[in-house]
Symmetry: C2
Subunit: 433 residues, 2 copies
């Protein structure tokens, strides 16, 4: 269940905790994504996070949590509760936990004033509250919002307090917090490098089996698998004190993994499949048209998430009804009557039609049963037919997947179609699932 990830961070000399505050997180109305982000960033910089805590906007619980952490960690990052309203209590709790009072901080006040001035808005009294920081705290500027952050020692632990708004938190973490941490580590700093390969076509456990020999071939590299359904990302981690050496070891390990995965790696840098396919189309100066039935526009949506995709993507006909397949894509009525809509022959005619009417280099199509209804004994839910039309000819494929949801079927059908095209563009045989 848990990806096979070694604990490279545990060689670190500094231990850290993360705290998320806020009623919405405590009550489950909001999923806390900040803590994972901070843990990953601290990990990359060689700081081991031992615990995450979440508490609501309750002064006593906040003070208790900060005091506890002050007694056991070297470093803590706290998010949330720095805003202007009455339930933003983090600064007050931090002051109480540190045994100091709240004072108007000139630098914090200036930060709030600059924010309002830049937007030609008047600063209200509530916003002024944000400039009151615990005595002895050092203000951390917030270039994206009104709430300044601050750092403060509580017990033995250096705390960094940041706003809960993800964009503001991320910016302040990278601009102000991480540089301070790295400086503090001095000669003890280790480098933590990661390399991410994207793959499609094997399950998590099959991938894990294929890569079982990595540890003995590359003892210094750790492996993690992360499902980005339906793709799987293979993450390679290396840590050490020599930057260049780490990069070389990661490159060698990436080559080893790519070979073991036998054509199933579609990106050497963690890109999604629509980006890998777009890259190949651009290289070949080729264009693409789609005919989507069961994927319902998802493939087009994926391709057009990539900026500049208009260079190679020209058209998708999302043809949900048979009549539209006949009228617009010029699929023959006989083919549909003889085989039904979900058939390799129909898919081929759809792909050919999309290519012909748009003048694209390639035509790619999907027709299948995403569920939950519409399946039969012969063509159960999870069946998809994929058609491909190229300047040289056409090909049709039928695959079958077994997932629980319509959404997952649409996603894997879309990726399977893009994988069919990717392999055609690479000049390797069609995929098998």
């Amino acid at each position: 269940m848990v990806p096979i990830r070694e604990r490279a961070e545990d060689k670190s000399t500094m231990i850290a905790e993360i705290v998320a505050t806020g009623e919405e997180i405590r009550t489950g109305a909001l999923i806390d994504s900040n803590s994972a982000y901070i843990a990953a960033k601290l990990g990359e910089n060689g700081v081991a996070v031992t615990r995450h805590t979440c508490v609501g906007d309750d002064l006593d619980f906040l003070i208790a949590a900060l005091t506890e952490i002050g007694g056991r960690a070297d470093l803590a990052v706290v998010t949330g509760g720095l805003g202007p309203t009455a339930d933003d209590l983090t600064a007050e709790a931090a002051a109480k936990a540190a045994g100091v009072v709240l004072d108007l901080d000139r630098s914090a006040l200036q930060s709030v004033e600059v924010f309002f001035k830049a937007r030609q808005r008047a600063m209200n009294a509530a916003s002024r509250k944000q400039a009151f920081l615990p005595a002895g705290a050092k203000c951390i500027q917030n270039p994206l919002g009104t709430a300044p952050g601050f750092c403060l020692k509580i017990g033995q632990c250096q705390f960094f307090f940041l706003p809960g708004v993800p964009a503001e938190m991320r910016r302040m973490l990278s601009d102000a917090v991480l540089p301070q941490i790295i400086e503090r580590m001095g000669d003890n700093q280790r480098f933590y490098h990661t390399r991410t390969l994207s793959t499609f076509g094997l399950t998590e456990s099959q991938t894990s089996e294929r890569l079982a020999g990595l540890k003995s071939a590359f003892p210094q590299i750790s492996l993690g698998l992360q499902v980005q359904f339906p793709a799987i990302q293979i993450k390679l981690y290396a840590s050490g004190t020599k930057d260049q050496q780490l990069n070389e070891a990661l490159a060698a390990a990436a080559r080893w993994v790519t070979e073991k995965m036998g054509n199933k790696v579609f990106s050497q840098n963690g890109d999604p499949i629509e980006e890998a396919v777009g890259h190949l189309l651009r290289q070949k100066q080729a264009t693409l048209a789609l005919a989507e039935s069961c994927t319902g526009g998802l493939i087009a949506d994926m391709l057009t998430r990539v900026s500049g995709s208009s260079d190679y993507f020209v058209f998708s006909g999302v043809t949900y009804s048979n009549q539209v397949k006949i009228d617009i894509l010029k699929v023959s009525k006989e083919t549909i009557l003889r085989h039904g809509a979900v058939h390799a022959e129909t898919a081929i005619e759809m792909a050919r039609g999309a290519r012909d009417i748009s003048g694209a280099t390639y035509g790619l199509s999907t027709s299948g049963i995403a569920g939950p209804t519409g399946g039969s004994a012969e063509k159960p839910v999870g069946t998809v037919c994929i058609g491909l039309a190229t300047p040289q000819g056409t090909a049709g494929h039928q695959f079958h997947f077994w997932f629980d949801s319509r959404t997952m079927h649409k996603q894997i059908f879309a990726s399977a179609a893009l994988e069919v095209l990717r392999r055609e563009l690479m000049g390797i045989g069609p995929p098998r699932f």
Copy 2:
């Protein structure tokens, strides 16, 4: 920043904590969504969650966390670390924290055996490990996976240990854990009801201003706003000991909110906009065809996420190039030359074309600039033109949004187009943003 959510749960008589375990969560490779889910479910059943904690697969840290919580909470739900591998340490940590040994549990062994038998797979030795539970623990069956859960008292606190796989955890929480908690509360049980309305067209702070009078009009109702970009969900919470009374109060508050929001509520039960529009099309026995340029298939993808959407959705022409707009949608070359692709007139011709070639009742189109490139002084990034063709005639609109990302622009363009159609179907005037 924090939605205006009163703390209804704090009237509860029982306090609870949640623990998530696992290296992937500790290191930030995985975002913990289980804790939010459990917090929400406990909250609905009148149990206040005071703290969430996450620790990695480290025996000492696990024991420390469980022991601490055993000393301060009435109830705790722990997820993860029950699997067959060496780094699944939760049962061992629970035994150590409770001061007992691990014993083979007959009921747990049977649960694992049943799982393998049902799938005609042989049970391996590692899986047998999962049947060793702390002495005195009571097994919780896992109908969806191999790892049984268990409940165990540590200190003053009743712990429930569940697997980390979300589907398994959710099933066991609702089948086994919540009934035990409700029984334990007996006459102290309060009911916690929620009502969710979906809205589009105002910002979070504008919505909050419109609803400022809710608290005085309905003192027993609490309000929460949750952004499901670009929609905003208005959540109404009520708690009390009388089931029927709560439902009536929520219904009255929902009517009040709907009136204040002036046609901007598109669902009375939290549905996404594609479902609300699908519902209206089905009611009218009408069909829809799309012509998507800047939304790149996203509207079609949204509509076809809804099972049964083939009843009303017939076609989307994702026309990324001008030539395809001319060839397939029959947009006149002159219109594009005179106005460009991003213009209300072009959008109208696209909508009319999609309707004409597919025979649908309605045609809806988008043409705009999602960014990050392609903007001009006259038509900056964030501009979208939306065309609508109905049996009665056509209409075109131009809107402008200001977001930072291509993805967000695609999402808000798609929702704006569906909102144009929704208001047409409802017989109310077009939206203004």
